[in-house]
Subunit: 351 residues, 3 copies
């Protein structure tokens, strides 16, 4: 596919600075882009790359395009959100894979399953009784859809995804390979030999436009629902426990763990490896830094963190040793303050 830079600018609602008729054939990274390629200045910090960049065009922010050097037969595509423009152009040049729109005879599809038009079911998929699958949805090999589960339209369930009985996915949901939706929540009553499993009879509801990364697990509710809200994006190897609710458009990075019944608000951002205890609320728009531990409810819009950046090991050993002595240190300082106060008092009394 060939497009002029002007055509691309129109496609994304941006403006051209430089040669608007240069022909673009592909998208490439800034260090690999050559003639015919459009690339993307992800970060103004990388501006120095521009001088050696051989791309025919570069997508940049409206605010940075002014100061940039102009070169013959090349141009910039300036956009208010250059990252969105990049995504749109990448989509334009990227052939979506085509699917057969048929049901493989090597898949197991229960006669009582209800399949929409143009659904693709690959070999070795397993579709239980009572399952509903919406139009144009793609079910890759090794996918398991449990009894009575529902999948909306235009979904993609990548290989070896498991959706357990009764769980429901909205439209345009993408589940990457190995995702498990609706495994039993981790619930027991009693202790030791007397411990009994609490049946997990709830479901998981995954709303429209959600994308979930490879090998992430979402447990079914004990009773009721575990909910992944509309437009939420969840990365790989994340753990979502029973009865958790993730608000709309929240973004959860890899290896985060959220314990049972906790409610995450809308537009929340959780960085990688964050851990959140059970039965709390994280308010709308909150942002939590990487590796942080969240032990109490978080107010809307809060920006929290508790991650500790690594230090040279020998120095850190000393810090580690002193940390448990922090209360002692605190008392020592309080003692010194008191003593100094007394010295001061004595001195003043002498005057």
């Amino acid at each position: 596919m060939n497009k002029t830079l002007a055509e691309l600018a129109q496609h994304v609602g941006g403006t051209v600075v430089g040669d608007s008729q240069v022909i673009i054939e592909k998208v490439a990274s800034i260090d690999e882009a050559g003639a015919g390629a459009i690339t993307f200045l992800a970060n103004p910090r990388y501006r120095r790359y521009l001088s050696v960049c051989r791309a025919s065009a570069v997508i940049v922010g409206m605010d940075v395009v002014r100061g940039l050097p102009l070169r013959d037969g090349k141009g910039y595509l300036a956009a208010s959100d250059p990252y969105v423009a990049f995504a749109k152009i990448l989509k334009l040049f990227h052939d979506s894979p085509r699917f057969s729109r048929t049901v493989s005879s090597f898949a197991h599809v229960d006669p009582a399953a209800d399949l929409g038009e143009a659904v693709t079911i690959f070999p070795h998929a397993y579709v239980s009784g009572g399952v509903k699958i919406g139009r144009r949805t793609v079910v890759f090999p090794g996918v398991f859809l449990g009894e009575g589960s529902e999948v909306g339209e235009d979904c993609v369930l990548h290989p070896n995804v498991v959706v357990c009985a009764g769980c429901r996915l909205g439209n345009r949901v993408i589940l990457h390979a190995g995702v498990v939706i609706g495994s039993d929540g981790f619930g027991y009553a009693g202790q030791g030999e007397g411990r009994v499993k609490i049946p997990q009879i709830g479901i998981v509801v995954v709303e429209d436009d959600v994308e979930i990364g490879a090998n992430t697990t979402v447990d079914r509710a004990t009773i009721g629902r575990t909910v992944i809200g509309r437009g939420a994006k969840i990365d790989n190897l994340v753990q979502i426990a029973h009865n958790v609710v993730i608000g709309e458009y929240s973004v959860i990075a890899a290896q985060v763990g959220i314990a049972g019944s906790t409610r995450i608000g809308k537009n929340v951002t959780l960085a990688g490896q964050v851990g959140i205890v059970n039965h709390i609320q994280v308010g709308d728009g909150a942002t939590i830094g990487p590796q942080s531990g969240i032990a109490q409810s978080v107010t809307p819009g809060a920006v929290l963190s508790s991650g500790i950046p690594a230090a040279p090991h020998r120095e850190w050993l000393k810090v580690m040793t002193l940390l448990p002595r922090l209360p002692k240190l605190w008392h020592a300082v309080r003692g010194l303050e008191k003593k100094l106060f007394e010295i001061d008092k004595r001195e003043s009394s002498k005057l």
Copy 2:
């Protein structure tokens, strides 16, 4: 199914306070329960919900039932362990899924496999030679049972579970979707190009009544056995390395990692995202808080933690910056103490 509250009380060994003849048809969460439903006061903190709760009955602790308001046509089921009572009633109302008790012709079952009575093998399961499967065990689609592996009676292996060659599961073991039992331990000798893989020729033994969460991994021993002790409960995305031993009835929350050859005692509780180094012992009954790092052996019954709850990011930045200077701070305080001691001495000498 309909039961009177009196019947339910008898089933769980509890007592009714209020209307013992009210009819219960289902179990529901406290905020969703209506007429005909029994619910559960999980936490005395939630007592305020009771005034607006429309459930026909509420399971409560013996100790809290006294102070609660009584309403016509409604009742409380008071139990010594209300959580256990809840689990039992939930089980009563929850239809266990029924299985075909047959071996699908679309499964691969080696002729040399030994299958007990009433075993269910779903399509696309793979049962290798020398495998033994006990009575009534259910093997879902996509499950792989390696050469010579053994599965006891009344087990449930959810979709895409992998049990590698030679590993052994006891009775009533539940493995949730994507669990891997018996992958190679992470063992190498030498460095760089000279690094060689240490063959991992041991097995994993999973004892009776163990339940393991989705996508958790348990590595086979280098030599000998990795053991998950009787009644242990392990959550999702947990990593158990080679030659680890987990004691009976221990409970391990999501995303915990336990390094090689470490021995976890009985009735140990590990909260989410805990990391434990290799070659140590964690004593019976120990409890480890979320995100903690365990670098040394832990005495029985110890209650340890090292997780840090998140603080406002700007404030935490300051803390983070000062942490590496903790040794300097410590010395400064020591210096001040010394100086003050000298001043004191001088002052006394002046008297």
Copy 3:
């Protein structure tokens, strides 16, 4: 198989101390080894086990063999790197599993796939069009190979491994059960409802001699390649984000997470549960301690850590409470120093 200790010593380039003609039939762990077994003293700390060890032979380091007691009909195999010697002997005694070297008619293999000699494809594997598989490679049940993906020679893809479209594996690559190679990177532009997915059109390249642990996920590049360098060893449940590059012979322990576009050098060691932010470099030969957070680029050879070993919970609660007050403490100490300096000055002025 029977070997004399002398033969084993020759096999690994070591020397015998004691009875060189003792017959060895198997390898066993030091606490389980009996007559006919060779075992391994992993750590000089465990020397005390030797007095009760009933093994016919023990592999030890050249440097420790001298002080050890000699017993009739038994011997030591002393090697410069005893761990490597152990690995080699274990390999000698360990029968590699034999495979059918055929393609199962219950696998799905696209006619346009290109399979090398003696390839083994198990039932329920899925091989897409345009796939290339090198000689003697083994593809277990439930494995998915996407359109145009390539797998080298002598690889082993364990059950339920997923290699997405276009990704490439070198020779002698081992992927353990549930590994996902080439899932979409976690990339979006814009916010809330306006958020759009950035197509992930790059690939993953896994070079020769790489081994990757169970349920680990490696995302494809947005554009270009995510690279796992030659000889790298990656443990279970690790997350490698898009465009990450792992250098040759690096070793990454379980549950590590590496964010997008970060470059890990050669011979780097990352301990368990380490988290590394995006767009940084970790220099060759660096070592990062368990649970550490890496927020900035790391110089070659650096040894860093930020993990905190757990303390008794009650004591840790006090530390946790004081941590946010560390800046206040710091200022208090600065204030005290100033005050003492003034007292000192006043005192000297009085003299």
